[in-house]
Symmetry: C2
Subunit: 127 residues, 2 copies
DNA sequence: ACTATAAGTATCATTGTATGATACTTAAAG
DNA sequence: CTTTAAGTATCATACAATGATACTTATAGT
């Protein structure tokens, strides 16, 4: 289930998008499976339907879902995307971001490793 | 040295802030050491001085630097911050973010580990 | 066939954030 | 004690995020 935080700095569209991405990565949503209609999810979250629609469209632009008028939005089949040098660099940048932050906040190496392993298990165990 | 990307989605203030944070975390800037004056850095980056000033103030709010009128901005002494449950959770969320993204982009577990170790070395080797 | 309903989409208004231009204040140097 | 160099405050503007509303397309029921 998705939960949004109106006080958070990250835009609502991104919050929704990211959480669905995590559900996809974790294998909680399988190819062909329908996402909730924009109006329903918007109602559940107390948000404008456009906000959800925009999240869906962002996901569609990434090839993760397929949306069609009148029919709904479903999870796309798993395209076999292969990471290139650029995406690898981007990942490194994002990781640096997280770890430098952790360092300044006083985390020890062991604690970081633990968090890393936990997260890794979430997305690579099954799926 | 700092480099900014005018086309990137992340605001200039954050780009500057994050890169200085990484320099601090990597031990490239030591306590007491001065940061460049806002006008100079702003000039180098081709950016308004307020943009740099705001980044500095954000860093000051985090206790990482100390700014004083007429004198300049210097790196703050290392406060011994201890991570609590909330910060640990936040770190987990950030890590999930990065790893779920990597998963969807087709990275394999081994590749992730490599990137993680490289980043870890950047911020925990020395310092 | 035809209508009703349910789905995504497009358009416009509004609000807030990011950035910049300019002026102000404080401290050090000559 | 004036000049210069530093951070700070104020205001203006452009763009992004969200919402209100209307539109289009597909399916279900009759």
């Amino acid at each position: 289930m998705i939960s949004i935080d109106l006080t958070a700095a990250t835009p609502l569209v991104e919050q929704i998008e990211q959480q669905i991405r995590q559900a996809l990565a974790a294998g909680e949503l399988l190819p062909g499976e329908p996402l909730p209609p924009v109006r329903q999810l918007a109602g559940d979250l107390g948000v404008n339907l456009n906000t959800v629609a925009r999240a869906y469209r962002a996901l569609e632009a990434q090839g993760l879902v397929v949306a069609q008028r009148g029919r709904g939005t479903v999870v796309a089949p798993r395209g076999s995307r292969k990471p290139n040098k650029a995406t690898s660099n981007a990942l490194g940048v994002a990781m640096d971001q997280v770890l430098s932050d952790a360092r300044l906040k006083g985390f020890r190496e062991a604690a970081i490793r633990q968090i890393f392993e936990a997260s890794l298990a979430r997305f690579w165990q099954r799926g």
